[in-house]
């Protein structure tokens, strides 16, 4: 019964329309499916971005919206680039970025290379080492303030145990010279497992036969390491660095909870500094220009980096 209805419906449909619907199922449907994502990203990311760009050329202050907004041209940009305080936060960010990536890559790769095979309790171990990155950075910052306390903190206690120094003789988040390292340590603790797991995936993707062939050619272990292991893992490692680099450039909640940017402004990374300019000093236009400068910097560095990554992949 239903068969005849279907048949009749099929016959009733003009062939041209049927072809049109068929045509829809390929190209047009593909676009219809992508459209919502593109539209939403435009609405929530690009539209505010354009708004921010517009604000960056004005002296708008969000807490005095009634005041007349004046167009100031590139003055905001000029002032930011000549402000020595901002260069200090840039330096703090560079310090944080460089050392976190350095330690995470070094330790992550070294550990992955050492471990590079299944062992007893491999799955349980993997679950345990991913625990830190599952935690909220805000919470991590919060309980590390406790671990960093002089005298009673676990970190100080461990250092004292290892070096024999007095645990109350130093304060990781209280001293100007140590505070920049305190945030590096926490971030390294949190994200080294990520780099290590990605390296492990890279190492395990190298087929044994390549090493066996190298063995036949009498390549030394040292040479095998540099000509097989490193180049094969490099694309994985570079991807991990890209993710961590972008995230750490934007680093905010962990450091706010841990040090609040202090002591002084030694750990005031750019995002924290930007938040202060925008919501404590209420210089909205100025802060907008600042945000645009940061965006252009990250975007530029990331583009260059992705080009390099693609080259490495092609090899």
């Amino acid at each position: 019964m239903s068969g005849t209805v279907m048949e009749r419906a099929a016959n009733a449909t003009p062939p041209k329309l049927a072809r049109q619907i068929k045509g829809l199922s390929d190209k047009t449907i593909a676009w219809i499916f992508v459209a919502p994502t593109i539209f939403l990203l435009l609405a929530v990311n690009i539209f505010p971005l354009i708004w921010t760009i517009r604000l960056s050329f004005t002296n708008f202050r969000v807490n005095r919206a009634n005041l007349e907004t004046k167009f100031v041209g590139l003055r905001n940009y000029e002032r930011i680039l000549t402000d020595s305080d901002i260069w200090l936060t840039m330096q703090a960010t560079a310090h944080f970025l460089f050392w976190t990536l350095f330690f995470q890559v070094l330790i992550g790769f070294a550990l992955a290379w050492l471990i590079n095979r299944k062992f007893k309790g491999n799955d349980l171990w993997t679950t345990i080492i991913v625990l830190p990155m599952m935690l909220s950075p805000a919470v991590v910052g919060n309980f590390w303030t406790f671990l960093y306390q002089p005298q009673i903190g676990l970190f100080n206690y461990a250092i004292a145990f290892l070096t024999g120094a007095d645990p109350s003789s130093f304060s990781m988040i209280g001293e100007v010279s140590l505070a920049p390292w305190s945030i590096v340590i926490v971030d390294t603790w949190m994200w080294t497992p990520f780099v290590m797991l990605i390296c492990l995936a890279g190492l395990r993707s190298i087929p044994d036969s390549i090493y066996e062939a190298a063995e036949c050619d009498r390549a030394s272990k040292w040479r095998q390491f540099w000509t097989i292991t490193v180049p094969m893992v490099l694309p994985f490692l570079m991807l991990a660095v890209l993710f961590r680099g972008i995230e750490n450039f934007k680093m905010f909640d962990l450091v706010v909870q841990l040090t609040g940017g202090g002591p002084g402004s030694t750990t005031e990374l750019t995002s924290i500094n930007l938040k202060r300019e925008a919501f404590e000093k209420w210089r909205t236009g100025y802060a907008s220009a600042y945000a645009i400068i940061l965006f252009v910097t990250v975007f530029g560095l990331a583009s260059i980096y992705v080009k390099a990554l693609n080259k490495v992949k092609e090899r």
């Binding site: 199922s25 390929d26 449907i29 676009w31 499916f33 992508v34 919502p36 994502t37 939403l40 990203l41 609405a43 929530v44 990311n45 971005l49 708004w51 921010t52 604000l55 969000v62 471990i115 095979r117 062992f119 007893k120 309790g121 799955d123 171990w125 679950t127 991913v130 625990l131 599952m134 935690l135 909220s136 805000a138 919470v139 919060n142 590390w144 406790f146 671990l147 306390q149 005298q151 009673i152 676990l154 603790w189 990520f194 797991l197 995936a201 993710f243 972008i246 934007k250 905010f252 909640d253 609040g260 995002s271 925008a278 919501f279 909205t284 945000a291 940061l294 990250v298 990331a302 992705v306």
Partner: protein, 276 residues
């Protein structure tokens, strides 16, 4: 002989691996332990590890002081809501980009990812003003919207990579057998993509659960999730580290439990599909 060397090597590897594992795990364990101590014991030096008077008073006090369950519920609603909404939008997009690639598909993907490069503070002012005018400030709906948008590029990108791993020939074969679009998606694609979608789902729940910047800036009391709750414990006046530890434990426990029961998918998600 060779076997003896091999065994020795394996023992060394196991030893190193577990030493690292314990070192990584210890700060978390110690925080959880401290949450069961009294305030006096929490600041004792040298610290005690197991032999102290276990107490639940910190938990009771934290709940009383800052209504943990309300924030917990907010976190659940916001992270689940934004994840489900994100998947509904992202799956069709990823599907069409993976199976009907265009010349510009790669550029579109890169562009989507590049929206993650802007420091969130940079667009806070416009979003804040928009939310104020739409009276979305301090509402769960508002946070679901923001977090969906924030994480959408990552969801699209991850599902795209998983879809890419599915050979196109299988879909062609299904089509040859007379499957239409609907059959193709429901009976062929979905079963094959489930592990990938599950990993993406978990990763996104965690990202949304942990997101602190937007939740702190767009909520006050009503819709604040656990990340905002924890921020109220940020500057301990006097000594209440046991309570700080209890609050931290309460904020991370749900995620740790979720992670424990979904290890494989979770590891895959957290490493963006690199670890299978």
């Amino acid at each position: 002989m060779a076997r003896a060397v091999n065994n020795k090597r394996r023992a060394v590897v196991t030893l190193i691996a577990w030493a690292v594992g314990i070192a990584i795990f210890f700060p978390i364990l110690y925080t959880v332990l401290t949450s069961f101590k009294t305030e006096a014991e929490a600041v004792a030096s040298p610290p005690s590890f197991l032999f102290f008077d276990w107490t639940l008073e910190n938990y009771a006090e934290v709940q009383e002081r800052s209504n943990y369950f309300l924030h917990f519920l907010n976190s659940v609603v916001i992270s689940l809501g934004s994840t489900v909404l994100g998947l509904i939008i992202a799956v069709p997009a990823a599907w069409s980009m993976a199976f009907f690639p265009k010349k510009r598909t790669k550029d579109i993907l890169m562009w989507m990812l590049s929206t993650k490069m802007l420091p969130p503070v940079g667009v806070l002012v416009p979003i804040y003003l928009l939310f104020r005018d739409a009276s979305l400030l301090d509402t769960r709906t508002g946070l679901v919207i923001v977090l969906t948008m924030i994480n959408l590029p990552i969801i699209v990108w991850m599902i795209f990579t998983y879809f890419k791993e599915i050979p196109g020939e299988i879909l062609e074969a299904a089509r040859m057998d007379g499957a239409n679009l609907w059959d193709e998606v429901v009976y062929v694609l979905t079963p094959m993509a489930i592990p990938g979608i599950a990993s993406t789902l978990l990763l996104n729940i965690i990202l949304a659960w942990n997101e602190a910047f937007w939740t702190l800036n767009l909520t006050a009391a009503k819709a604040a999730p656990l990340t905002a709750f924890i921020a109220s414990y940020s500057s301990p006046e006097g000594l209440f580290y046991a309570k700080l530890s209890a609050a931290s434990t309460m904020a991370i426990a749900p995620i740790l439990i979720l992670g424990w029961f979904s290890q494989k998918q979770l590891v895959r998600g957290l490493t963006f599909g690199a670890v299978k």
